[in-house]
Symmetry: C2
Subunit: 347 residues, 2 copies
């Protein structure tokens, strides 16, 4: 009767084992040369890269937030893991770091193995896209803690950068140019407000056609628009990481351009953003109009189409812009660094 | 009106900022020489230790499970963070690694700043106890996802070990001695069953006196018994980590001795445990009797009083036992490694 009473208390160890088997295959698909361990050992083992001069580890933890609710409504948990990895990769990328490995945490009231596998499928896809090993993770079944069908997903990334290649405010000077890179949508922020406006104010459901100008053929319905995967900017900037002309980067997440740009500017400097320089996705206009949200707030809650901002020397800006453009990353001149503080949005 | 509509959607950015300020002080209290960043930067920065020959990073992710429910019932979230850090420290310790840094993830429907601070107080206490820096973390407010008053807590740890000091099955040989180190209670496993038996079968509540033999003066009531902090074994074994006589360690978590001991034994070898060698805490007897749980299952669900098992060479076992005893870690000879597989429990 082993497991019997435990199962009566709501925990099914077998279900966890079943998911684990399928998960192991996905984990293997992300293996990089540094990986020394198999999933299932107490801790994941990663051979530290040799030949670095003065390595600095860069680590970040994050979740997917209420984008998980959208995944649940769409009955598709296969992409939020990809969002999470890309989000974490971007968070350490802005300090100049490239990822080494990632670990995930999945919590649920009752683990449906196929849902766990979907979640890890997304995580594994993100790890493969970024050359980052999925080194381990935890899958926790917590009866009565989560509503049946709810899944929590958190992740943790570790990357490395040479001390003298760290990016940040100390490199930024007045006149530096801001280069914008496009987001794929909401990425992983602003979902509480977006859901409120789309589902409550507009009364749409997950499979409704997105009521935007026919010109926008990006997304067929609300679910697809809201679930578009958070973009990773590692492929775009990897070749720039050693360049002295790249001074800083800002990952535009919660707080938008308004809160995230100043985080990478030194005291005494602010940013002028030329709002006319790009067109946010129609999804943002839809939310602003239907929700009667002020422009000021839109720029604090959403990325507004700007997923990453590069702060580069004015002299090198033209070549960096053309280089990024030539490699298909659709950059544009977002603005410049000026005296003062905060962010102003010019015409 | 900035924040207005966002607040209407259930997210209060100010509440997060308020908690963040208090959390920063706790984070500073855990700083070690490797820490290069302040909380609030995109990613935490940690200067990799110099002078290592062939360093291997060891990483682990974990949660606190439904021990969180007990913390909620006791209206005390100040210790579960300590449980989490110690659990993670033990998970990498069994491979010979000492911790470098830790990151936490807190999820809630509505963040009560004082609860977040309590959670981080525990995490910080665990980090200080283990000389592990709290390098960062994420605090996520997810309206409607968690019940009001519910808090999820997950953590991620990174440690390091020299490649030639890695512990594991490949070092273990027949005749090796198993040394047990006592747990402080349930640690972080078996809470679903424990809660089921104590609260449903026995009808106790969180503040009921623990109905055990008066000889047990360890705990005054159910809440205190269930919340006793998961012990860290780093202080006990740190001085042994470089010793060739320490072959492997098993952290006794979910699955108990029955599932965790075989994880550190090579194919062809099993373990004989002398059950008479120690007396599990009365709490375990209470749960087994009241829940009519078989002994077999008790040893798969609970640590049964054994928090960590050291697998050491038989020649060095006596000196290691006396060394651990002299330093107050209450070790005992738990059993030995024998031919075969699995774990048998002798008289």
């Amino acid at each position: 009767m082993s497991g019997g009473a435990y199962r009566a208390a709501g925990v099914d160890i077998d279900a966890q084992d079943e998911a684990l088997g399928q998960v192991k295959e996905l984990v293997r698909s992300t293996a990089t040369p540094g990986v020394l361990s198999e999933l299932g050992s107490f801790g994941g083992l990663f051979q530290f890269p040799e030949g670095m001069r003065k390595p600095v580890l860069v680590a970040s933890a994050d979740g997917v937030g209420t984008k998980l609710r959208v995944a649940q409504l769409a009955d598709d948990y296969s992409t939020v893991g990809h969002d999470l990895v890309n989000h974490c990769v971007n968070d350490i990328l802005v300090q100049g770091a490239v990822p080494l490995f990632f670990l995930d945490y999945v919590g649920a009231g009752v683990l449906a193995p196929e849902k766990v596998v979907q979640l890890v499928q997304g995580v594994a896809a993100g790890c493969r896209e970024n050359g980052c090993a999925l080194l381990g993770g935890e899958t926790a079944e917590m009866p009565g803690f989560y509503k049946v069908g709810d899944y929590e997903l958190a992740g943790f990334i570790v990357g490395v950068v040479e001390a003298d290649a760290l990016l940040g405010p100390e490199r930024v000077v007045e006149g530096d140019v801001l280069i914008g890179l496009p987001s794929s949508g909401l990425h992983t922020n602003g979902y509480s407000l977006a859901r409120h406006v789309l589902f409550e104010v507009l009364g749409l459901d997950i499979s409704s056609p997105l009521p935007v100008a026919s010109g926008d053929s990006l997304h067929r319905n609300v679910g697809e628009a809201l679930l578009s995967v958070h973009r990773t900017y590692l492929p775009a900037v990897r070749s720039l990481l050693e360049s002295p002309d790249l001074h800083a980067m800002a990952h535009i997440t919660g707080g938008g351009l308004t809160d995230n740009l100043p985080r990478v500017l030194p005291t005494g400097l602010g940013a002028s953003v030329e709002k006319g320089g790009w067109r946010p996705l129609p999804l943002f206009d839809l939310i602003q109009e239907a929700g009667e949200v002020s422009t000021e707030e839109m720029f604090r809650v959403f990325n507004m189409g700007v997923g990453m901002v590069l702060v580069v020397s004015s002299s090198a800006a033209p070549s960096i812009l053309s280089e990024l453009g030539a490699s298909g990353h659709s950059p544009w001149r977002l603005g410049r660094v000026r005296q003062g503080s905060g962010v102003d949005y010019g015409a």
